[in-house]
Amino acid sequence: MFKYLFAKNEDIPAGSAAVFFGFSSIIWFIIGTALGSFNAAKLAFPDFVTGSYMFAFGHMRQVHVMAVIFGWISMAFAMAFMYITPALGNTKLWSEKLGIWTCFNWNAGLSVALCLMWAGITSGREYTDFPWPIDLIILFAVLLPLGINVWMTIVHRKTQGIYTTNWFFGSAIFMLMIVVLVGNLPEYFSLTGLTEAYLTWWHAHNILGLWITPVAAAIAYYTVPKITGNPLYSHRIGHLHFWSVVVFYSTPAAHHLMSSPLPEWLKSFASVEGVLILVPAIAFVSNLLLTMTGKWHYFVDNIEIRFTITGVMLAIPLNMQGGFQQTRAINWYVHGTGWIVAHAHLALLGFSTFLEAAAVYYGLQTILRRKLYSLALANFHFWFLLIGFATYWISITIAGLIQGAAKIYEVPYIDVVIAEHPYMIARWVGGTMVFTGNVVWLYNMWMTARAGTPVPVGRLPHEIAYER
């Protein structure tokens, strides 16, 4: 990477930024899931690594969260931007050099920020844990250059229209910048109390709703038609998805604070809008599954489609939960329990991660023009990720229901701890499986780059996956 930082733009091979982002994202996924596994072990085995505040759960939990969101997920998104945006515009990335600088700034900045946070230097606000000077650096040294590269690539496209994926890509970066800027207002101006609580969750909700969910979905709009050869089932439904995300997903932030003294009209409005999130969800899932018509054998044969369609199908329970768990009656029961933690992992480790993994698999093979080193290792990765995630999700969902019942019936806290202990062990087992799968993934992709069979000119990697 370093040799390209000061090279001329035209001397940098096309796709370099995407490759660097791709490998960065896998490495951050390993770091993030290692931290997650470590934290889960502390919950399962309370005597595991004690005596140092640096390794206390309270110090490490948010490092895990931010490493996964801004390391793995967002860098996988950046990789997708770097190769899908130009591919859909039938052009080159506007500036490979800017992309490589963005990748460098991102990795360096995130490393520093996470170390500071690990040391306890934090805003103390969930999902905006970084101190505000670092938030501003992220905004202007990472997101703005990333946005400029994507927007200028779209502007300089050689196609007449803009495909749905690029609608999402271009708008999501803009919306993320607004969300980061506004969501950190309590830090800039020392806002406290209800205002701080609301803006914290306004930010957190919109990070999920206007960044992670739409970009992950947009990736699927590219990978499924590209690999299956089927055109997208309906561009109109894709447009419905886009507009309903902007209108319905940007408004229910208050549903995260249903028991707070926020204005009643705001909570009611948020609850209704929260149910309406099912509109983009149904549009997305139905569009992608119908695009698969006649090509369902790819779900078995092709690793990228298997990842993608698994992610698409995980969107069904995700949005069913999301639509209804924030209504007052259900929220009263599940708020503040492991159910919500399980739901968050369904969104980030389930739905979103599977879609991004497909983008990284497909992107690295396509850009490097190398056939996947080992399909067996890719299958190992898929199943460890899926079984590990499912173990985690189901166990914590059950633990959350136990906690909810205990909350309402005022069961002594220690009894709850004892009752949920088996599920905490299952959580650790599931998380560790995910981590193990990711280590194998990195090895597989590294070997793909170093020793993968070259893909002949005019062919695509998935077309020769089973050719020796």
């Binding site: 934090t122 007449q160 020392s190 306004w202 408004t251």
Partner: protein, 191 residues
């Protein structure tokens, strides 16, 4: 066909996102601003102080620039026994919380009581101050308000700290902001 520029779509996107911001940010701010703060809100605001995380005053989150919550059992001036009351002690240089800097956010009634009966307007960060949460009447109804005890009772920060035992002093946020946010206050003596 001509190269599409998406002018209408771009404008619609601006309207949709702008409308969302207006509904979820601007309109709630009007409602929240017009509602009076509760006693719990005042206690939290005064005990947490101005800084709730990273700040210039306390970049390493060591509890600098944070107020102390002191349970007072004797009058700091006369030494006479009084009913225990929590005082929020801001030693000189400690930044005041938003509730003192901008009483307008407390709601009409609480702001008026805090300004008139509580005399919060005369408190300065350079000199420090001791605040109490008191109750008073405004147009026939009782409301909580912030009382600047340094002005109304001559309770200085130094006198209050000298009159109370260490076990009655609690320092919210000393190095453990996240835990404190869950309600687990760290004792001043321990920190």
């Amino acid at each position: 066909m001509a190269f599409r520029e998406y002018k209408i779509g771009t404008r619609m996107f601006g309207i949709a996102l702008g409308g969302s911001m207006m509904i979820t940010l601007y309109m709630p701010s009007l409602t929240i601003y017009s509602v009076g703060v509760t006693e719990t809100g005042l206690v939290k605001g005064l005990s947490y102080g101005h800084n709730s995380g990273f700040s210039y005053e306390d970049p390493f989150l060591q509890g600098k620039g944070k107020p102390l919550t002191v349970t007072i059992k004797k009058d700091p001036v006369t030494g006479a026994d009084i009913d225990p009351v929590d005082a929020y002690v801001y030693v000189p240089g400690t930044p005041f919380p938003s509730a003192v800097r901008n009483p307008g956010i407390l709601g009409t009634e609480v702001a008026a009581l805090s300004a008139d009966d509580g005399q919060v307007g005369v408190a300065t960060s350079d000199e420090g101050a001791v605040f109490l949460v008191s109750r008073g009447d405004y147009e026939g109804e009782t409301f909580p308000y912030i009382e600047n005890a340094s002005a109304t009772r001559d309770w200085t920060a130094a006198a209050v700290l000298a009159s109370a035992a260490d076990t009655d002093k609690r320092h919210v946020g000393s190095g453990k902001t996240m835990f404190v946010r869950e309600g687990c206050e760290v004792s001043y003596a321990a920190s």
